[in-house]
């Protein structure tokens, strides 16, 4: 004789079992999701670049013994103490000075046309050779130029 099943009681037990089990598993799942979390973040900031980064030091060299009416080639080197490579486009003779013992030398008689170099002087470079050779000319004028005899001439250069 099969014992009759109390359907209501059976369903109640099963429902409770399933709901309980499900809740337990969901609860476990929820615990797993939040007990050890990872997350993301975001935000913004800003930065600006400099308008320049240091300057370059130009050096010119030419042979001794320049006389009125003569010219001599001028070579160039550069020092770049900065952290950025710097570009030397055109070298320009900004001014000329004579040593103190030859203060009356007319330095306007010394000229040099602009020199196109287009050379990059690497960051930290010392004595980097630059492209381009200038021509320094000592004009032969109608006035006495003896005051320039033996003078040490310094060329003051600029570049862009």
């Amino acid at each position: 004789m099969r014992k009759p099943v109390n359907v209501r009681s059976f369903l109640n037990r099963k429902t409770a079992l399933i709901v309980g089990a499900g809740a337990a598993i969901v609860a476990l799942s929820g615990t797993a999701a939040f007990a050890y979390w990872t997350t993301t973040g975001s935000g913004t900031g800003s930065a600006t670049t400099a308008t320049s980064n240091g300057t370059i030091v130009l050096h010119a060299s030419f042979a001794d013994g320049l006389t009125p009416g003569a010219s001599t080639p001028v070579s160039f080197t550069a020092d770049n103490a900065g952290s950025s490579s710097l570009f030397v486009g055109t070298i320009h003779l900004a001014s000329v000075t004579a040593d103190a013992g030859h203060a009356s030398c007319n330095v306007a008689d010394y000229t040099m046309a602009d020199v196109t170099s287009n050379t990059t002087a690497a960051a930290g470079a010392t004595g980097a050779t630059l492209n381009g050779t200038g021509t320094l000319t000592f004009a032969d004028t109608a006035v006495d130029q003896d005051s320039c005899k033996g003078a040490t001439i310094t060329l003051h250069l600029s570049s862009n």
């Binding site: 099963k14 050890y36 993301t40 975001s42 913004t44 930065a47 670049t49 900065g82 950025s84 570009f87």
Partner: protein
């Protein structure tokens, strides 16, 4: 045992239902977590000025943790966007923004420092920004402004 045998099909159905409930429950939990994450942290930094080719600068990125629990930073990176204003110097070639980058932080990298941000606290993470010194003309990058957009990941501190 007799009960199980008699109601095997029914129990299997319930088990499948329970599994589905767990799956849906977990999915819902994850969706809630990603959609409205209460632990989402923020990053900010003040303007870093004076960047020049070959001249790396420090970017103090401030990480803010809104959670009451401590968190450990896992990654932090930033993308760089060039702003139209101020424009490039007249006649300059366009600025190659790909040459400006923030070195990302990754906690799993060899020798990387560990950054634990206390609950509801902040922590400064020193990142580095660097404009590569390249052989081409970079005048287009002179005097420009950039936006840094940060993103990162973190986990609850153990």
């Amino acid at each position: 045992m007799g009960f199980v045998r008699r109601h095997a099909r029914l129990l299997l159905s319930y088990a499948a239902l329970a599994g589905l409930a767990v799956f849906v429950g977990h999915d819902a939990a994850m969706a809630a977590n990603t959609g409205n994450d209460p632990h989402f942290f923020t990053v900010s930094s003040s303007t870093v000025a004076g960047i020049a080719p070959g001249k790396p600068l420090s970017v103090p990125a401030v990480v803010s943790n809104p959670s009451p629990q401590d968190m450990t930073l896992l990654t932090l990176s930033a993308t760089v966007t060039l702003l139209a204003n101020p424009p490039a110097p007249a006649g300059a070639a366009p600025c190659d923004v790909s040459k400006l980058a923030v070195v990302p932080y990754n906690a799993s990298a060899a020798g990387a420092a560990s950054y634990v941000v206390s609950g509801r606290g902040t922590r400064t993470v020193p990142l580095t920004i660097r404009l590569a010194d390249v052989a081409s003309n970079q005048d287009g990058c002179k005097g420009r402004k950039f936006t840094l957009t940060y993103s990162g990941t973190a986990e609850q501190a153990h």
